[in-house]
Symmetry: C2
């Protein structure tokens, strides 16, 4: 194969990788801004997040198109094929992350002006910090082809779930102790769930990076610890199954 054709292929792979990194940065920004808008009750910032998510969607389409062209044109194999497929799959996860951030922002706009004690938001702040860290780390892992870092991110998925379960219980108790909290706590529950799912997608990306670099799959069952879908809170005087 002529030398120039090989380096054209290299250039295409690099470009694909660059686009994924760029999209990752955009997704990070959306998540960070949506969380900030929640904590600061900044509806204007939230509005900007809602609008900016469209650029994420556009980037996902471009990456998918470009990757498919590369597959058709170069018929990559082995590590190169894994890289190209990884770009499609990671772009999908990043697009979902952008969507989830947008959903958080929409709820911030909804609860603007509502009865909103700061304590209700504190737990959401904690889980957001961890999820933002995961997202940053996994994008570094992708850019650096760093499978060890991918494994670390994958391993921390359980910690996020544990945090979410506690937060779920906490918000339920606020709702029970004061009905004025119900409406805003319901929105916060959805926000927390969205943030936890952003964490899940970061873990998906970690699995994809690991496979891209090593050709091996991480174990099917990641260390799950989100018990919130099995969590109920006992109402005083009633026996309720947990």
């Amino acid at each position: 194969m002529p030398e120039h054709t090989v380096s054209s292929f290299d250039a295409e792979l690099k470009e694909l990788g660059r686009k994924v990194v760029e999209m990752g940065g955009q997704a990070e920004r959306l998540v960070a801004d949506s969380v900030t808008s929640l904590i600061r009750r900044d509806a204007a910032l939230a509005q900007r997040v809602v609008l900016l998510d469209a650029t994420c969607d556009q980037m996902q389409r471009e990456i998918e198109e470009k990757a498919i062209l590369v597959i058709a044109k170069r018929q990559p194999v082995a590590g190169d094929l894994r890289e190209v497929v990884a770009s499609i799959r990671i772009a999908n996860d990043l697009e979902r992350i952008g969507d989830l951030a947008k959903n958080v922002a929409k709820r911030v706009i909804a609860i603007e002006g509502e009865y909103h004690p700061q304590k209700l938001v504190r737990g959401v702040e904690h889980i957001s910090d961890l999820v933002l860290e995961q997202l940053k780390e996994v994008l570094d892992a992708y850019a650096g082809h760093n499978e060890a870092k991918a494994v670390e991110v994958w391993g921390r998925d359980g910690a996020i779930d544990t945090m979410y379960t506690s937060l779920f219980r906490e918000l339920l108790t606020y709702m029970m102790e004061d009905p004025r909290n119900i409406s805003v706590c319901t929105h916060l529950l959805f926000c927390a769930k969205n943030i936890e799912r952003i964490g899940d997608h970061a873990t998906n990306v970690a699995e994809i990076v690991y496979y891209m670099v090593t050709g091996q799959n991480l174990p099917e069952s990641r260390p799950k610890a989100d018990a919130s879908s099995e969590t109920t809170v006992a109402f005083p005087g009633r026996t309720v199954q947990g």
Copy 2:
């Protein structure tokens, strides 16, 4: 090109389509069973849904692998390329649908034995009927390469959102009127949200089918009507922004 090679390609395309239809059937089953398990409070059925979702995940991986092989081997263009890409994208949406059904089932297991008046579930039953109909119709549209049917499904997305917004309000009022309802209503809210999102994915599939058949995109903004993320419910005596 030799005749047998062309018909091998045809056979590969047909096989890909068949796999998508099969996966679609599996996703329909999961959604129907998860909803039945919710309405009948059947935790055993819910448990089976949770386990069966893994087959959906497996099917998605197979379709993706097969599609990529076809792209690399045949370098399809125009309508053929659209078909192959559509199979990857629809498989992704079907995998999400399976996941969402699984999440509904997990919550059914959670609320088993909880204080659970039948009226709380009725609204969820209505939205589920519509979503199941959408899913069936869009899979028919795919199998029949029927863009008119795809447009119909796409157009009904708004009706699901309207229904979800009402249901959201209804469940909030149950929570406010009786704190014993809070825990189960929270789970029902998540169930309803998951079902609404299954509807969203069915609409995604409609958009993909339309593009696959016509080479044109449906309008960016589908007729959205889900106002629940902007919905709050006034607590007597307080002014609350809607």
